[in-house]
């Protein structure tokens, strides 16, 4: 329970220190590049089958009720609103977050973090803020790419494999999906990316005793992020559906 509170406190502290000068551009750039480079390829590869599975499932369902022309509408909605932010953050937490956690964890047990604090430099400002910011911005940018690749994957499997009509697939894009779906997708990616960064940093700064503790911390940080992700996703989706009513046909 204290851990939850401390994690929350770290999140607030990160937001507060975000505004403090001097801003650590170099560290941010390095971290951004690192998180992006480890997550771009895996998230693309994961988003193709994701789009495909949604496309295939929908395809067989819509074929039974004779609504093949709405294949595109449903799969675009599912991918942009749900699948894409989740896939993005799963990869960012798994690839980037674990590395952030391991890096901070080993620094903690080598007393580097203590030394930094004693030298009068806040580790949150110096190390955590750039990492959280990198995870957040990579999540937002990557989310766009994953959406495109996911929709393309869905298109490929629906049109090529199941013999759907290309024109109907594309034309129905806007039947269900609307612009706010895109915004909420990016908002989700932003929040998830932030959470992934904060959780990874928190676990990294508090490993339990020795090198083994760092391994455990990395493991836990990924698991905690995943669990948080689904919880927060459910909440955001519920709120979003209340505020923005689904498009009628």
């Amino acid at each position: 329970m204290t851990a939850v509170g401390q994690m929350f406190a770290l999140g607030l502290e990160v937001l507060r220190q975000l505004l403090r000068r001097p801003f650590q551009y170099r560290e941010l750039l390095g971290q951004f590049w690192f998180v992006a480079s480890v997550s771009i390829l895996p998230s693309m590869l994961v988003s193709i089958p994701f789009g495909a599975v949604i496309g295939l499932e929908l395809g067989s369902l819509t074929a039974q009720i004779g609504a093949e022309s709405f294949d595109g509408a449903a799969s675009v909605l599912a991918i942009i609103q749900q699948a894409s932010p989740i896939v993005t953050t799963l990869i960012i937490a798994g690839a980037g977050g674990s590395a952030i956690c391991a890096d901070l964890g080993s620094r903690t047990i080598r007393e580097e973090i203590d030394a930094m604090e004693v030298l009068g430099v806040s580790p949150v400002h110096r190390l955590v803020v750039p990492r959280v910011l990198a995870a957040t911005s990579v999540a937002v940018l990557l989310n766009g790419m994953v959406s495109v690749v996911g929709v393309a994957g869905g298109y490929f499997f629906n049109v090529i494999m199941q013999g759907g009509t290309p024109g109907a697939y594309v034309a129905s894009f806007a039947a269900l999906a609307q612009l706010p779906d895109l915004w909420v997708s990016e908002l989700k990616a932003m929040i998830f990316g932030f959470l992934a960064g904060v959780v990874a940093s928190y676990r990294g700064l508090h490993p339990r005793g020795g090198p083994k503790g760092v391994g455990d911390a990395v493991n836990q940080s990924v698991v905690i992020t995943f669990l948080l992700l689904f919880l927060v996703n459910a909440v955001i989706t519920a709120v979003y559906l209340r505020i923005v009513p689904p498009k009628g046909m």
Binding site: S106, E112, D114, A115, M116, V118, L119, G120, S122
Partner: protein, 314 residues
């Protein structure tokens, strides 16, 4: 001159486990002090409390008129600029070269140009004997070099207080002697307050003006070196003698509190003096004045030693 640290009734626990309690001592300004203690008595914890990395449950730590246990975060960061801390393993930043490590505090806290930084860093590297290792990463250094680099980094902002966490661990006796001499020389040159936490007997016997010892969750004593060095208390005598005959056992659990042991007080070794060519330590004068006032309260053995050494009129 350095700054004094006053500690009153400090207590620290981790969960239910009490590390030590009721620790009160004053580290006199500009003097060399050593805090001894068997392994696992919370010496490093004490040091971390002094710089505000850990929060003790009770007690006060006064530095420059500010209580470190109860000050705001910004006050604490401000106070920390007074401290230079040498961590056990040097605690260098693994991703930076030795040069960048030592330059780090300067780049963070001062607006010096790179040329000035280079000059200051080179000075300190020369002081600790690390010339030629600038471009190396901490992972490529030996334990002793890492420690000296850590010391150089701790010194680069000209701190008022230097705290050393086991400067001898992982060093051979000769290197330890050099490091001890370096600390004494530093004190002679800039009159800085130095507190060393260690379990190395030769450091404890040759370096400090003041000596204290932690044992069984308490401070056994802290004061002018003569007090502990002539002490007949079994714990102190055993520890300074470095043998098995006494209350200190293999582990903390087997450490005894009471009992009788033949007391063998090791003789006092003369204190280290600054290297030739350096000014005399001003701390000596100040300490003599302080101890002169305390003289009547000292044990006979300690008093005798003080008088014999200083030629104070009886």
């Amino acid at each position: 001159m350095g700054v004094q640290i006053e500690v009153h009734g400090l207590a620290k626990s981790f969960g239910r486990q009490n590390i030590w309690q009721d620790v009160s001592l004053t580290v006199p300004a500009g003097e060399l002090s050593v805090l001894l203690g068997p392994s696992g008595t919370g010496k490093s914890v004490f040091l971390k409390c002094l710089v505000g990395l850990l929060r003790p449950e009770r007690g006060r730590i006064m530095v420059n008129g500010v209580d470190l246990c109860r000050c705001t975060e910004s006050e604490r960061y401000e106070l920390r600029k007074l401290f230079g801390v040498l961590f056990q393993d040097g605690a260098l930043f693994g991703s930076m070269t030795v040069y960048d490590n030592i330059a780090f505090p300067l780049r963070e806290h001062t607006r010096k140009t790179e040329a000035e930084i280079r000059r200051l860093v080179n000075d300190k590297m020369e002081l600790v004997g690390l010339v030629g290792a600038e471009r190396k990463l901490p992972g490529e250094l030996s334990g002793g070099m890492r420690k000296r680099a850590g010391l150089a980094r701790a010194l680069v902002l000209d701190p008022e207080i230097i705290l050393c966490d086991e400067p001898d661990s992982g060093l051979d006796p000769v290197r330890t002697a050099y490091l001890s001499q370096l600390l004494v020389d530093l004190n002679a040159q800039v009159d800085v307050t130095i507190l060393i936490v260690t379990h190395n007997i030769s450091v404890a016997r040759t370096v400090p003006d003041n000596l204290g010892m932690l044992y069984r969750r308490r401070l056994v004593g802290f004061g002018p070196r003569e007090i502990l060095l002539t002490s007949e208390e079994p714990v102190v005598a055993q520890f300074l003698g470095g043998h098995r005959h006494g209350p200190i056992g293999m582990s903390e659990e087997t450490d005894a509190a009471e009992g009788t042991w033949p007391s063998t007080v090791p003789e006092i070794v003369p204190q280290l003096t600054p290297s030739p060519g350096l000014p005399a330590r001003q701390a000596i004068q100040r300490r003599q004045e302080r101890v002169r006032v305390m003289l009547p309260t000292l044990s006979p053995a300690a008093r005798e030693h003080v008088l014999a050494n200083w030629g104070v009129p009886r």
